[in-house]
Amino acid sequence: MTHYPPKWADRFLEWYCDESLVEDLQGDLYELYLKRREKRGGLIANISYFWWVLRSVRLSAIKKNQKLKNSIFAMTRNNFKIALRVLWRDKFNSSLNLFGLIIGITCFLLLGFYVKQEISFDHFHSKKDRIYRSWLKEDYGEGQVFFNSHTPLRFESLFEDNFPEVEKSVQYILSNFLVGRGENRINESVAIISPDFFEVFDFQLIEGDKDKPLPTPNDIIISQEYARKYFGDNDALGKTISLEVGQDIKDFKVSGIFKDIRYESSINFDLAISTDNNRTLFSERAMNAWFNVVAETYVLLKEGASIDNVNDKMQDVVLSQMGDVSYGDEAMQRDQYNIGLQPLTDIHLNPDIPLGNAPVANPQYVFILGTIGLLVLIIACINYTTLSAGQSLRRAKEVGMRKVLGAYKGTLVYQYLSESILLTTIAMLIGATFSYLLIPTFNRLTGTEIFLQFEMWHVGIYALLALIIGTIAGSYPALVLSGFKTINILRGGNQSPGKMTTRKGMVVFQFLITVFLITTTLIMRKQIEYLQNKDLGIKYDAVISTQMRASPSAQRLSERITSGFDNGQLLKSRLEKYPEISDVAMGSHVFGTSGWAHLAYSDDKGVFRWFRLLCVDANYFKTFGIDMLQGRGFEEGNGLDMRQSVVLNKSAVEHFGLKNPLGAKLPGDEFGDHQIIGVTDDFHYSSLHSEVEPLVIVMNPVPIFMGISDANFADSPIPKLVFTYNGSNLSEGTDILKKEWEALFPNESWNFNFIDEQIAAQYESEARMNKLVTIATILSIIIASLGLLGLSMLVVNSKVKEIGIRKVMGASPVSIFRLLARGFSIQLLIAIILSIPITIYMMNKWLDNFAYRTDIGVWIFAISSLASLLIAFLVISYHTMRAAKVNPVNSLRTE
């Protein structure tokens, strides 16, 4: 049986190839095709054949006959030549169009880069479609829900042993270790990963054994960046890095160096050791616990395996594996202990599943920014459309002539489209270059982190984009122009330059988007200012905090907290000697961090209760200026306070349902001896996205710890020391801290934070979004103004005679200005009115993200309306004033 190469490739060859060459060329290729097919099989042969056909496209082989000269190629050349001449002839309009398109495209591309980066997070793993991260949701009813994407350590083997669909399961734990021996130890975040981690994920090992990057528990792998940081230019492989593990300092040998993990990865670390260390790092209990969440567990499914099969079996496996493990006194019920699997590529943009080791982005923001980029581009396209349609009058004769000479409507459409495509291609060329150059500026301005490597295939995308944008922008004018009736044109009659309503509609739409963006920017700015200036019920100006360390010998949490306080006391007595430092205090959490200790228990009536816990010293209230509503705060040297006194915030009093809180106890049997001595006002200790939650404040956490059943410490509860610096230069304050710290704890690296900066950082993503929207707004104002400028010129030009006659009849320049401006004002007013409900709807949705929000004031609409009216009048006044002042003799003399 004979085989034939793909027909379509043959047809392509016959299409482009010169007829005198095609027979032997085809024969040669066909001969080679058969040989390759024999050796390598059909698919390879087909691909090779197509490849040869493509490679045979050479100038010497392309058709040289008459057919080609008449074809679309030649016409295109002619069309582009005419297009260039037309663009050149009307330089003012062309440059307005070009400029608007460049800005629109640049803005669109920059925002597009951002959106693309956000949605392509974690997409670089070749097995990404089969990788899932597990989560655990315990639900015992009555709001007793514990939802985590950190999972118990035993999950790795749970997945591998019980599900034949699972090819591999790996752990990823992030933990902080003190790195180094002797002086200047640095606190680094170190990943603890399963030895077969690199078989699931596509991180690149540059040096070391690719199959076994972490052969023993004593090995460590490091990133290139950290290899430079720790070993300079020396070869890091085989060198030693020491970590403090428990009470000991343990040496690890560098067994591999991996390529720096790229930004768009949810898994990101610079140092990693093997989970074979887990036996020394975690207690036996933690290793086997069902309720102790530590690691992110990733699952790689076998090829072709279905995730639904795994999910269906999950509850059976859980129940059979847990056996008689129980929660509290009751045996585990079905659907109480739920394990779920989330696709790897879903992690970055899914805020519904709790945070794991990496922060996630708000998909709403990504969507909004993408939409804004598109809107700005649309404004630029409308510019082109309205301006070209407006110009069409001047080209009516050209159209008529072409039609008489036998041009089809299709040919004319094609001609005018090539004009717009030419212009967008030029704009795309400049805009794309701009965007690449502007990435660093854009990153700095907005705090985003866009990394973009230029690759050749991007050119194809840009070309395609230029084609699409050009077609969209040019299609309306092309249809209008080609639709002119030949007889009317040549008779000299007036042509309607397209339906006025369509064009007016477009202008209204353009204004609408611009006014909407202006209002949005103002509202966002107002909300962010509200967040940053809202009285939190605390004072935190010039307050510096530093994280204390617990001594390694302290094992239990309460001991480590106490040890942190003891260390803090040493530092405190040294700092208090400085006159410019005052209000030195300590607390287990400070303001500006989320995830304060979250504790839960069931009270004596079986009601599930939860609250947050703060351990402080006696100065804490004073340093932050926290006011007492009832009772008193803690007192220095009061033994009772240091042992058992409790202060609640107002929300906690309501949550526990206490009528007379002073002297009362928390509802619950298991708590140690304690007594409520005071109630504070509801100061805002977490970000204003959420409401104030019940807070229990103590000096000694032990009585509270005795009575709780669940705890979650997202923020480390090891105490921080805070102080107010009264000097003029804050950096001197940190210098003092550094000096005293190094004298006291020579082995530990010092650290500091400004509380006000931390609080501001909570609204970073909102502030960033606001900056991006502001930039887009300014650009859209510029583009819309350009369009308006061009449009006003067209209107004025078409009314030169009318203005002349009116002036002769005695019209004043002002009345002429009014006449010309009226049309635009009506369009602008319609746009403003339409924008109001849209803005209110969209902005209310955005403001719903915040528990504490500003209202959308009327004055915001007033400001944005006034601003857009003012800008519009400024823009159109340039041409109208000139037209109104012109001597009527000049405009009426020539006929």
Binding site: L21, E23, D24, D28, Y30, S56
Partner: protein
């Protein structure tokens, strides 16, 4: 002189055309070059070189008889022209004379 210059690949193809005598068509030339020089080559490159050589007048071509294989398509056979022969001779002479000018000493130094 312009048009008389031979590129490296052109020279190779021209030599092969000469050596294959009456059987020189693109696929045969390609295979001959691959077996002799062991270099990776694409048939499209041979086509393009042959067309160039024909334009320069170093080879002529004519279509062969109908074939039963290769989809019934005829082959295009190439033959060396006098000009082609001359330019090959000149190139060889030039190389040989340059080669012989090279002092023998160099090799002993290098080895």
């Amino acid at each position: 002189m312009r048009g008389e210059h031979l590129g490296e690949l052109e020279e190779l193809v021209l030599l092969t055309v000469g050596s294959l005598m009456q059987e020189a068509y693109a696929v045969a030339i390609l295979e001959e070059i691959i077996t002799n020089t062991n270099r990776k080559m694409d048939v499209t490159a041979v086509h393009s070189v042959l067309r160039r050589l024909e334009k320069k007048g170093f080879v002529t071509s004519e279509m062969g008889g109908a074939t039963s294989d290769r989809g019934g398509r005829r082959k295009r056979f190439f033959t060396l022209t006098k000009a082609g022969r001359r330019v090959l001779d000149e190139t060889m002479e030039l190389r040989l004379s340059l080669y012989q000018k090279m002092p023998k000493l160099t090799f002993s130094v290098l080895s």
